[in-house]
């Protein structure tokens, strides 16, 4: 479980960096506002997971490989890549809210003795679903 929390923490921190890079070059105010919240949500999840991991005696060791993180920041932080293409990339990876929530929801049942982590992860999973739902609705509003 500690390894799961650590991996998720690293992924959320990397996700926040990628969305921050997108915000910095996003020309659409209506998209930029939502992306700011999403970046903050991802960073918050990373902070929560780190806090819980340390309370449980774990350490933050997991890292998203530099090449992977750099490629994502480069692509989403590029003004040459259209926002519609960036949205399509995210939605291709997470076609439904359940796709992004599934890995977290899958471990909830294994957390019966640790109810604090279970409820924390339940709300983190809902936040991930809300992010994908908003991005999908925005993409649809562009005619995507």
């Amino acid at each position: 479980m500690l390894r799961f929390l650590d991996s998720l923490r690293a992924a959320e921190a990397a996700g926040a960096a990628v969305v921050d890079a997108w915000v910095a070059v996003c020309p659409l105010p209506s998209l930029r506002g939502g992306l700011r919240t999403i970046a903050e949500r991802e960073a918050g999840h990373a902070a929560l997971l780190e806090e819980r991991l340390r309370e449980l005696g774990g350490t933050c060791d997991a890292v998203v490989p530099d090449a992977m993180r750099g490629a994502a920041v480069g692509r989403f932080g590029s003004p040459a890549v259209a926002d519609e293409e960036k949205l399509a990339l995210v939605l291709a990876r997470y076609p439904e809210e359940t796709t992004v929530r599934r890995p977290i929801v899958h471990v909830l049942d294994q957390l019966d003795p640790d109810l604090e982590t279970r409820e924390l992860l339940r709300l983190v999973a809902e936040g991930e679903g809300a992010t994908v739902a908003w991005l999908r609705a925005y993409h649809a509003s562009l005619g995507g």
């Binding site: 659409l28 105010p29 209506s30 998209l31 930029r32 506002g33 939502g34 700011r36 919240t37 999403i38 903050e40 949500r41 960073a43 918050g44 902070a47 929560l48 806090e51 819980r52 640790d114 109810l115 604090e116 982590t117 279970r118 409820e119 924390l120 992860l121 339940r122 709300l123 983190v124 809902e126 936040g127 809300a130 739902a133 908003w134």
Partner: protein, 156 residues
């Protein structure tokens, strides 16, 4: 839209963001106190998420407020301050705190940001910022309701 109408709305938005950032910051602090005295592990886990999100919302609202030329100066009203003080108290049960907090969100007031979001018609960035923050707020209220029901069922 006439220029003066846009200016009027910008002033209104700055005021709303200021009130919102003050409420979220104070709320995050109160929930942080609640976490330290909370006796129920399930509740503690969700409260930590709500605290962290409220803190993030306060930062986002302040950042937007400053981008629009405002300066944060609002403080929370007496009624909210009283509720927040109660949330951090060690002498009040978790169930009582949940009931008092959820009394602020009866039925149609479940999404207090929705009306604000609807009224913003010339600032797309603030509107989408608040709309996505509202998603977090709704999720938090729904989770608190589920916890209240769970605690009430366990009490019976």
């Amino acid at each position: 839209m006439l220029r003066h109408e846009a200016d009027d709305q910008a002033a209104e938005i700055i005021g709303l963001l200021d009130e919102f950032q003050a409420a979220e910051r104070a709320g995050a602090e109160a929930v942080d106190h609640w976490v330290t005295v909370c006796r129920d592990a399930r509740l503690r886990g969700g409260l930590k998420v709500i605290r962290t999100r409220d803190r993030g919302h306060a930062c986002l609202a302040e950042e937007r407020l400053r981008a629009l030329g405002g300066t944060p100066s609002a403080s929370v009203g007496r009624q909210l301050a009283s509720l927040l003080a109660m949330l951090g108290s060690d002498d009040v049960s978790d169930r009582t705190k949940l009931v008092a907090l959820l009394d602020r969100f009866p039925g149609e007031l479940e999404d207090p940001l929705a009306e604000v979001v609807r009224r913003i018609d010339h600032d797309d960035e603030t509107r989408s910022l608040l709309a996505t923050i509202a998603d977090d707020e709704r999720a938090g209220v729904a989770w608190l309701r589920r916890m209240r029901e769970t605690l009430e069922q366990e009490r019976e």
